[in-house]
Symmetry: C2
Subunit: 154 residues, 2 copies
C-alpha cells in the first residue's frame, strides 16, 4: 500500500478530469511528495491513444498540468506554513513532446519548483516512459483569492 | 446537417482521444475549414470538469492541440497540392488559460496558420465561450516521414 496521494489527502471528493479521486471517468492522477520533488506513476489505457500504441499528447499535457498544479499547491502550503494547500489554478502551461509515449508501459512524472512567490509558483516537469524522457512541461500556477470561481472548490 | 469534418473526411477510423471519430470515450472534436481559418464547436460534459461548473485545463489543451494539428495538416495539404493531409504530429504546444471556461456552454475554437514551411506549421488558436476568449494556444506541428511510429497511422 502506498501512502495517500496529495489528491487523496486534500481533495478526496474532487472530480477533476485529470486528478480527481472521485471522477471514475477521469485520469485519477495521484501525486506524491518525495523530498524536493513531486512524483507520480500512471498507466495509460487504450482509450487515451493518439494512434494505435501511442499516448495522446493532450492526455500528456493534462497529466503534466494537474501534476504541476499540485506541486505548486504543496510548495505554497509548505512555504506559507499553511495546514492545507491553497486553491491553485493554472495560468499557463507549455508542453514539448520529444518522442512518442507508448500506451502499454507505465509512465513516471517528476516535478520541481523553479520559481515561486507568496501566491504563485513556476513548475518544471517531465514524463519518462521505458527509460526515456518523452515530454517536458513548464507551467505557472496561481493561488486564487476569495471570489474566484475556483476558490474552495476542491 | 453540417458537412463532414476534416477528421471524418480523412481519418474516420481514428481513435485519437481528442479527435478520433471512432473513439466513443474520446472528445470527438470535429474541425471544419472556413476560408483561412479552421473552426470547431464542442460541448463540454460534466466528466471533463476541473471543478463543478468549469472545464479542465488539460481538456482545453487537448482540444486546442488536436485542432491545431488538423489545421496544420490541412494547410500542408493545400500548400503542397496533396490529395490528402500529411501525417502531422505535435512537437510542442503552449496554452494560456485566461479565465475559467463554463461546462454548460458550447465552446468555439478558431485556428490560423502563423508560420509554415514544407513539412511544418505553427498554429495559433483560441477558445471562446459565452462571448469571451477563455484560452489561447500556440503549437508547432510537423509532418512525419516514413519510419516514424505515427506514419500512416490515421
Amino acid at each position: 500500500m502506498s501512502p495517500p496521494s496529495l489528491q487523496e489527502r486534500f481533495a478526496p471528493h474532487s472530480r477533476c478530469f485529470g486528478c480527481g479521486p472521485a471522477n471514475a471517468q477521469g485520469l485519477r492522477l495521484a501525486s506524491h511528495v518525495q523530498g524536493d520533488l513531486v512524483t507520480a506513476s500512471w498507466q495509460p489505457d487504450d482509450r487515451h491513444q493518439a494512434f494505435p500504441g501511442m499516448l495522446n499528447g493532450g492526455i500528456i499535457g493534462t497529466l503534466l498540468d494537474c501534476h504541476g498544479n499540485w506541486s505548486a499547491a504543496w510548495h505554497l502550503m509548505q512555504a506559507g506554513g499553511l495546514d492545507r494547500p491553497p486553491c491553485t489554478v493554472t495560468a499557463e502551461y507549455a508542453v514539448k513532446l520529444l518522442r512518442p509515449t507508448p500506451l502499454d508501459q507505465p509512465l513516471e512524472l517528476t516535478a520541481r519548483i523553479v520559481a515561486a512567490s507568496t501566491d504563485r509558483a513556476t513548475v518544471e516537469a517531465e514524463l519518462v516512459s521505458a527509460g526515456k524522457v518523452r515530454a517536458t512541461c513548464r507551467g505557472l500556477f496561481v493561488a486564487v483569492r476569495p471570489g474566484h470561481p475556483a476558490y474552495h472548490q476542491w
